[in-house]
């Protein structure tokens, strides 16, 4: 089974050469590659054997998996489940308990250095990781074991990329992302809460088919999908430029589709392909549906100062700034009066000394 190439597996299922080449073209386009790369993709599928993907879940809500299963890109999803094969996935597989774990160990041994590890959810580090255990083993332990022999690691979702919601202040479980733990392997981050399904499938397919990492940005995100901000590609951008903003969710501006900056849109600081690939098969995305971008592909977005406050509004400033400003004002005034009084005293002293000297001179 393991020696069969992806192409052979497809011909076995009755897919013709012609359809195979069509599929290769579609996949090339879906990966965001140029038309000239079609032969490369076809060649990869002809020569590469089926590669297993191990999908681990830690402190997550399975929302990224939910998103993946709703990917409306049939070719890549089919490719992922039929030919690339996700061999271990806690939410999706039928097996459970010891059998499933044994299967995972078998794959990790058989495909050592070849399988792709996908991680969903953050890893708790506080109190020896007791906040997330599977079969008595901590999440860190399971991750490090699986990562040690993986070809590459893909962290799906904001939680596994940076820590996400579990890491939000006060971070009770000491949650961290994969990148904080795995230092010796390439880690690709696909942040988002959840990420765009097509971005997940495309990135996994890219790594598995081409056996190389896509071009990444400073945070380890594929540049093809995280190269531009939501703001850069926003259909409401002209309103931002003109200074036409919706002030509330139901005012005239909101009805006219004006910019949502003042309602807390994080589009300008958020790198994601939401405005171009969109969601639900290209139907819409938050800003198009009259809701500001919450910035879910960026680190620490939960602690960024409120989902409905403008980006330029300093976080937490409204809470105590009045009192602090008052203290600073009174303090500054007191300091000034004190220093003025002191200066007066010094001056008076100097004047007295001068007078005494003058009198003494007179007497002499």
């Amino acid at each position: 089974m393991s020696e069969q190439t992806i192409y052979e597996g497809m011909t076995e299922r009755g897919i013709s050469r012609r359809d195979f080449l069509k599929l290769a073209t579609v996949i090339t386009a879906a990966l965001g590659l140029e038309y000239s790369q079609v032969p490369r993709i076809a060649h990869a599928m002809e020569t590469k054997t089926r590669l297993p993907v191990i999908w681990l879940e830690f402190q997550d809500c399975a929302g990224c998996t939910e998103a993946l299963t709703r990917s409306l890109d049939p070719y890549l999803t089919k490719l992922l489940f039929n030919d690339i094969s996700v061999d271990y996935h806690e939410t999706l597989f039928v097996a459970s308990g010891k059998q499933a774990e044994e299967n995972k160990t078998k794959i990790m041994e058989e495909y050592a250095g070849k399988y792709v590890l996908v991680v969903e959810g953050s890893i708790p580090m506080k109190d020896k990781g007791i906040y997330c255990t599977i079969g008595g083993r901590s999440a860190e332990d399971i991750l490090m074991e699986a990562a040690s022999n993986a070809m590459a690691i893909i962290s799906v979702g904001t939680c596994s990329s940076y820590g996400g919601l579990p890491q939000a202040n006060p971070n009770p479980t000491g949650a961290v992302g994969v990148r904080a733990l795995v230092k010796d392997k390439p880690v690709i981050s696909i942040p988002g809460c959840p990420p765009i399904p097509e971005v997940i499938t495309n990135t996994i397919a890219h790594v598995v088919l081409l056996g190389e990492l896509p071009e990444l940005d400073a945070l380890g995100r594929p540049k093809a999908f995280y190269g531009q901000t939501v703001h850069d590609r926003c259909p409401r951008r002209p309103f931002y430029e003109r200074g036409q903003f919706a002030e509330t969710f139901d005012d005239e501006g909101a009805k006219k589709g004006w910019c949502l900056y003042k309602l807390g849109c994080k589009g300008p600081t958020t790198y994601s392909a939401c405005a171009t690939i969109k969601w639900n098969g290209g139907v819409s995305f938050p800003v198009q549906s009259n809701h500001p971008c919450i910035g879910c592909t960026q680190p620490n977005f939960w602690d960024g100062g409120g989902l409905y406050n403008a980006i330029s509004a300093p976080p937490g400033a409204e809470a105590a700034s009045g009192i602090n400003a008052g203290i600073a004002t009174v303090g500054g005034a007191a300091l000034a009066v004190g220093s003025a009084l002191y200066a007066k005293k010094v001056k008076q002293k100097a004047a007295n000394a001068f007078q005494t000297q003058k009198n003494a001179d007179k007497e002499a």
């Binding site: 200074g243 100062g305 300093p314 400033a317 409204e318 700034s321 602090n324 400003a325 000034a336 003025a340």
Partner: protein
């Protein structure tokens, strides 16, 4: 690397409090400097003098170059300095994102200018300030009058302007988040630096102007 939450949050708050404390100190220190009592009988109204000097030298004369002394004597300083101040004012007070900052701090906002217009005015401010700095280097008189503190003032004002402009245009090969961090760091530093430097003339100018108007008004002379 400092996190943007820290720079925008606690660090910004700290810088702002230093700024307020420092400026309030400067204000009251000048007020309680020990002014000599004027025993002469007033020949005119002090308030009248204040109103007159503001109307004349802040609202009308700067826009009538032939009547404005500094426009005649130092045309370059007049044009570059004037444009710099207009651009800086627009960038700080009339850019929509900045008004949101003010709204958070003050609890109220005001209408903004269109962003591309403020973008242009910010460029005007940058060019104006660079022109003024070059003039300081070339002109022998200003060259002698310029000390290290003045150069630092120019640099510290120029940095937030340039980083702010760069983040709007996403340039210099840095991403928006990094440029935002740089912009906020430079702004925080400018806030801390201001009370200790001559940039505090944004406040002391008005103290001088008021005192000048009041004195001249009391003496019954044209301020």
């Amino acid at each position: 690397m400092l996190s943007p939450e820290f720079i925008r949050g606690p660090l910004f708050k700290f810088s702002l409090l230093i700024f307020i404390l420092g400026m309030v100190y400067r204000f009251f220190r000048i007020l309680f400097m020990g002014w000599k009592k004027d025993y002469a009988p007033p020949r005119g109204s002090a308030w009248g003098g204040i109103i007159k000097t503001y109307t004349k030298s802040l609202i009308f004369l700067p826009f009538l170059p032939p009547k404005f002394p500094s426009a005649r004597h130092r045309p370059l300083t007049y044009v570059a300095g004037g444009l710099f101040h207009v651009g800086l004012f627009a960038a700080i007070f009339l850019l929509a994102p900045h008004i949101e900052t003010w709204r958070t701090l003050l609890g109220f906002g005001w209408p903004a200018l269109p962003t591309p217009l403020v973008d242009g005015l910010a460029v005007v401010a940058i060019v104006g300030l660079i022109t003024l700095a070059s003039n300081r280097m070339i002109n022998p008189v200003t060259k002698m009058l310029t000390g290290p503190a003045d150069w630092l003032n120019i640099i510290f004002v120029l940095l937030p302007l340039i980083t702010g402009w760069a983040m709007y245009h996403h340039i210099f090969g840095l991403n928006y988040t990094k440029l935002t961090n740089l912009h906020l760091l430079t702004v925080n530093w400018l806030l801390i630096w201001t009370p200790f430097s001559r940039i505090s003339h944004f406040l002391t100018y008005f103290i001088t102007k008021t005192m000048h108007g009041a004195k001249f008004g009391r003496l019954g002379v044209e301020p």
